[in-house]
Symmetry: C2
Subunit: 205 residues, 2 copies
């Protein structure tokens, strides 16, 4: 996937085009973004844009998958299973919230949710690049912590999904629906603590 994917050509202004497309797609969505806008934002002529990407769809897909990759890096977290569970959970919560609540994370999420019908496979690509990785790490940790007797987790997958969901509490829906523009550090702490407390009440020992 590093060389030439599909019909896409590499070259001097490749990244430039991609950055402009990223900016405009993330702001306006797929339908809302016009190719002229993208070319202007990229500081590139429309002809050049079309010399790299055969059409708008593929350009969008390239942007979207690129974002997914970026997210993957954010999400890969080394968990130290020797730390007390409370600290592991706390760190995980902060990491997940930092992504899900960021402007960037919200934009990607919004686009994936909005366009997943028009672009089959986009949802899965996003999922597997980001959330699934984070999920796997958590599951693995819960299994090990259970075996070691540090936690009592029968269904590690359910537990991982629950913890992830607990990290979104209130803040994520609020931001997604435009009920507020951003969240304070205090809000995050309240939710993160709430998630850890609840998780340990259920699965701690």
């Amino acid at each position: 996937m590093g060389a030439a994917a599909g019909q896409i050509k590499r070259g001097r202004k490749f990244d430039q085009v991609l950055e402009g497309a990223q900016e405009v797609f993330m702001r306006d969505g797929f339908e809302g973004a016009s190719v002229d806008d993208i070319a202007r934002a990229a500081g590139v002529s429309k002809a050049t844009l079309y010399s790299y990407f055969p059409d708008k769809r593929l350009l969008f897909m390239e942007v979207a998958t690129g974002q997914c990759q970026r997210q993957a890096e954010e999400c890969i977290q080394a968990i130290d299973p020797d730390l007390p569970p409370e600290e592991v959970l706390r760190g995980s919560a902060e990491r997940m919230m930092r992504f899900y609540l960021s402007e960037f994370g919200r934009a990607v999420f919004r686009i994936v949710v909005a366009e997943t019908e028009r672009f089959p496979g986009l949802g899965r690509e996003f999922w597997e690049a980001g959330p699934a990785k984070s999920r796997d790490v958590l599951i693995e940790y819960f299994r090990e912590a259970n075996a070691r007797g540090k936690l009592r987790v029968a269904d590690a997958e359910l537990a991982a999904d629950q913890f992830t969901e607990l990290c979104k509490v209130d803040l994520h829906p609020r931001l997604l629906m435009g009920l507020c523009r951003d969240v304070s550090e205090a809000d995050r702490n309240r939710v993160a603590s709430g998630a850890v407390d609840m998780f340990l009440a259920r699965y701690g020992r």
Copy 2:
């Protein structure tokens, strides 16, 4: 709001137009829906459509707010505080899941998330018509149950948001991202039980 809102005219074919618009908007989103499509789906001429609604935006807003009202009815749940908490929670979980996971609920959610930038206020309208009502009912119940000593809930708002979020676990994100088309009864039971168990582990007594 029952008589004449904004510039909108009532008349014989009003509901017919609205139903067609509903169908097409819910399927294609705002940008994706064409007015000709809507008129066709409504079984009405374009001129008639425009005699009721001054433009596409207002028609969309009317549909969206209508959906929010519908959702409100779905969500208003009478909670019997004399029942054991476990049963109250179980009923609440099922009700919320029935909405959030339905094709209808997902379409509304998807549209709200996608268009909330283009239509400021849409998110709030949806929120206050639906989720907020459900939330208030839960909060009220948790306060009373705490006072009665049936639960031990210090922060009723946090608890309500957590329980709501626990009802979305795994299934809601999966559906939103198109990772699966629908969920089985077994999936729902697993998640509902997981939510109730976790909640009671934290706030039960």
